[in-house]
Symmetry: C2
Subunit: 247 residues, 2 copies
């Protein structure tokens, strides 16, 4: 028996998020079903990050203990032959016995994709949020800067347990534009629930001239009396790219 | 009553191709259903290009006669409000009464997308063909050159009617690579059935070292006795980008 760490990718369109739920297709549930085909008898795999219904992943990380006498590369093939088309294991390695993909993680990196078009584009709808009117580039670049560093992100999401800390450290928060497409890439030590979707929603409000960047700056500086507009960017534009670990 | 020319985009994943079929979802069928909601009583819309089951489009062209008292932009909105999520009208203009999107077309442009990865990537599977081992760039660039110009493409597809010509003129045939992704863009006056998928399949065979480029050169030069391997690149990597018309 050894512990394995895997990189899991999925198209979240037809999944009820990452965490197992009774009678619903989830990333964890599908992975556990595939593992059972290989003789796994564990109770539950460990997942690094919780992703909402509809959110995608190229770099989710999971871990489990398995009796496996072949090489790790053979485990990739075996798992993928049992996983449905919208999930795939992209890599496997043996890891230490007490490795925990969530608690040991150093950071998570997400990408949000959107495009600015007046009319919907069926070939991009699945993985990107359509916005109209277009965004002001300067506004977006400036507001992303505000997110860097260690702040109380209470206005941006809810913590895993009601009383726990809402302070997080953002190492990277960058918008990139190519033609009518925008991507927002953000890396933090950890995220509150729905924090990336909320970040995108609020930044887009600034980019569309509906919200002053100063309001976001004030909230992050914990100024009292500031209320940011409610709302979330839709799940289908979001992808969990990577979970990083100390060497 | 006036004739309108529209640009139609669709995700072909859940369509049985472009042409109407009884009891099956097709691009033409869905468009006609939406048009009927606007009072259209025609027998059949005219379509520029025939796309196979699973093939996508960003620039399919259709035409129909309609009584429409509002501006053409309003027609875009009205049609899109009746079309399902996997189809959208991207533009409309009034055109001359005898305009025919197929017979009047000067050229068609397609793009084929593929990526080279040993393990499948669920976020790209829908719109790209996964290939392994990787392709040799020089082989591909060279073989694409062979396709340029006017040739008998009988080995590349079947004509619309059994006795009609298999001679076509290719104006553009170019591979581009970015990281592990490849796209093939090809423009011709017209295409035989399945010609783009066959072109991709044969070029990939060259790029993987399974077929000599000379065999393709010989077939295009109508040398007798050359038999190319049978096969087609899968439909889901292919997108009809544009149909062009004389000014």
């Amino acid at each position: 028996m050894a512990r394995y760490q895997i990189i899991l990718a999925y198209d979240g369109s037809n999944l009820w998020g990452s965490q197992r739920q009774a009678n619903r297709r989830t990333a964890q549930g599908e992975l556990e079903t595939a593992l059972r085909q290989l003789g796994w008898q564990g109770r539950s795999v460990l997942m690094a990050g919780r992703t909402d219904t509809g959110v995608h992943a190229t770099g989710q990380v999971a871990a489990f203990d398995l009796e496996w006498s072949h090489r790790p590369e053979e485990l990739v093939k075996a798992l993928n032959s049992h996983l449905p088309a919208d999930l795939a294991v992209r890599g496997v390695k043996r890891t230490r016995e007490d490795f925990h993909p969530r608690f040991d993680a150093r950071s998570r990196r997400y990408r949000y994709r959107l495009y600015c078009q007046e009319v919907r584009d069926p070939l991009r709808e699945r993985y990107a949020w359509r916005l109209w009117p277009p965004l002001h580039a300067e506004g977006l670049y400036a507001v992303a800067q505000l997110l860097h560093g260690t702040h109380d992100f209470a206005a941006f999401g809810t913590p895993p347990r009601p009383e726990s800390s809402t302070i997080r450290t953002v190492m990277q928060a960058v918008w990139r534009q190519q033609d009518d497409e925008w991507t927002f890439e953000v890396e933090a030590d950890a995220f509150l629930y729905r924090m990336v979707r909320r970040m995108v929603y609020l930044q887009v409000a600034v980019g569309q001239g509906k919200l002053a960047a100063q309001a976001i700056a004030d909230v992050l500086a914990s100024k009292p009396g500031i209320v940011l507009p409610a709302g979330l960017a839709p799940a289908h534009g979001l992808t969990l790219l990577e979970v990083t670990y100390p060497e």
